[in-house]
């Protein structure tokens, strides 16, 4: 879950990291007042989650409070990568001598956190890695030994930084490592980390990402920042349909019938599990099908959960048929899913035989499941029909419509 710049800065401040003065503005008047309070030249920055706001012209510089107010109105409506700004940050413009880069992230191969440090900040770090690899250091650190400033020192020293710069940078990098572990972040990045003309260092821009699994452990912090549970902070905000899917899944604890993602096609999908859904979604698209949604069922969901998911998908405008498909199941039961989808169709006022294009879930309790499906005239198949073929049958039925 990504944080806005102003939220990241609130967290940096909590950890005692040096920052320039800044204020969030929600109107031109507030922007003017903020610039007035800061005094001197300011930077006006659009608050969006996606990168590339500089390129989009959503970062401007102002010499006076009036100019700050004017820039507020310019910056706010700019759409950056399809995203509209939440607010605008007015920040003190500092005289910069040099820009550095530091980030802490996970290395899935080494299974350790790693500090990336560069004395070539401010630009795309992937570019530095390619063109000036000697200016980018990678330093892994332990998660079971006590956190140590040694790691920060080695990371900074590895690109040739020494003297008082090294000693001033160590606590900042160390605190970033601390922040990374304290808040279960997947990315803690400062870019640029600026050395000012007077020799001090400050965090100019930063980017923090919290692991979704850990949100529950950091509720107090998220509450302080005003971030509610419904703010998923995915690449795009959740649709009403997706939120309704999450509500279906939250009703009881038995299994999963969720992770609904909306698409604009006409074939409703009740698919699972984690890997099976990815496989089946590909299979539908490859064979010309137009999915109305992505979803995942698994972990042996209750009949009513499957029923309610079925009703939700059938309620989506433009959904003509649904396909119910999974990999060979082990703990999710074929008969319980069969009951759920059939009951869902009937409660939605549809004929299961008509609306279920195909049912392909082989595995646990399939004999009972197939009896139920046969009784209601639903077309089903066992494991001798591959996932790909089953998806193809569903697509063919919709085309014939």
């Amino acid at each position: 879950m990504r944080f806005y710049e102003y939220e990241s800065k609130a967290l940096f401040a909590r950890h005692g990291m040096p920052l320039g003065q800044s204020r969030v503005a929600g109107s031109p008047e507030e922007a003017r007042a903020a610039a007035q309070a800061i005094g001197g030249p300011t930077v006006i920055k659009s608050q969006v989650l996606s990168g590339g706001r500089m390129k989009a012209g959503a970062v401007l510089f102002a010499d006076t409070p009036d100019e700050a107010a004017k820039h507020y109105e310019t910056v706010l409506p700019i759409v950056v990568n399809g995203e509209t700004a939440r607010s605008v940050l007015i920040e003190e413009k500092s005289p910069i001598a040099q820009e550095y880069f530091v980030s802490v992230t996970w290395d899935g191969r080494r299974k350790l956190p790693v500090v990336l440090f560069s004395d070539m900040g401010g630009i795309d770090i992937e570019e530095v890695a390619e063109t000036h690899p000697e200016h980018l250091s990678r330093t892994h650190f332990s998660t079971i030994l006590p956190l140590s400033e040694r790691v920060a020192k080695e990371a900074i020293g590895a690109v040739g930084v020494t003297g008082s710069d090294l000693n001033r940078l160590v606590p900042i990098v160390y605190k970033l490592m601390q922040l990374f572990l304290d808040y279960d972040l997947t990315l803690a990045e400062i870019n640029p980390l600026a050395k000012l003309e007077d020799g001090r260092f400050i965090v100019l821009d930063g980017h923090l990402d919290m692991e979704a699994e850990a949100r529950g452990d950091h509720k107090a912090v998220l509450d302080d920042l005003g971030i509610g549970d419904d703010e998923t902070r995915q690449a795009r905000p959740p649709t009403e349909f997706e939120l309704a899917g999450a509500r279906v899944n939250a009703v009881d604890h038995r299994g999963v019938a969720g992770n609904v993602v909306e698409f604009d096609g006409n074939l409703g999908l009740i698919i699972g599990a984690g890997g099976g859904s990815l496989t089946l979604f590909d299979a539908v698209r490859k064979q010309g099908g137009k999915p109305a949604n992505y979803c995942e069922i698994g972990g042996n969901p209750s009949m009513s959960k499957v029923k309610n998911l079925t009703k939700l998908i059938l309620s989506k405008p433009g959904v003509d048929k649904i396909a119910v498909m999974m990999n060979v199941v082990s703990n999710t039961r074929v008969d319980i899913v069969a009951r759920g989808v059939i009951k869902g169709c009937i409660e939605a006022g549809k004929d299961p035989a008509e609306v279920i294009a195909i049912f392909r879930i082989p595995g646990a309790w399939e004999d009972e499941g197939f009896k139920i499906l046969a009784k209601h005239g639903v077309e089903y198949c066992d494991r001798s029909v591959s996932m790909y073929e089953a998806a193809g049958r569903a697509c063919a039925k919709l085309e014939a419509n």
């Binding site: 319980i336 009951r339 059939i342 009951k343 009784k375």
Partner: protein, 74 residues
């Protein structure tokens, strides 16, 4: 609303036996059985189709007094 897939029949002698009713309510993982205020059996109809066919209710009562019927087999 009765079950679409599953129905449960319990003999009157069991349904009025508070001790057996309590036992049925305990063993059922999907809450098909409940006790009324007077201790007699209440079958929770909305949960019938959640039945996982574990047979624990059948084992909890004297043989033949609790019957789980699969309506899709008729």
């Amino acid at each position: 609303m009765p079950g679409m897939f599953i129905d449960v029949e319990v003999d009157a002698g069991v349904a009025s036996n508070a001790e057996l009713v309590k036992k049925l309510a305990e063993v059922c993982a999907v809450d098909i059985f409940a006790a009324k205020d007077d201790g007699t059996l209440q079958i929770v109809e909305e949960n019938l189709d959640e039945c996982v066919l574990c047979d624990l209710c059948i084992q909890a009562a004297p043989a033949g007094t609790v019957r789980v019927k699969k309506l899709y087999e008729r």
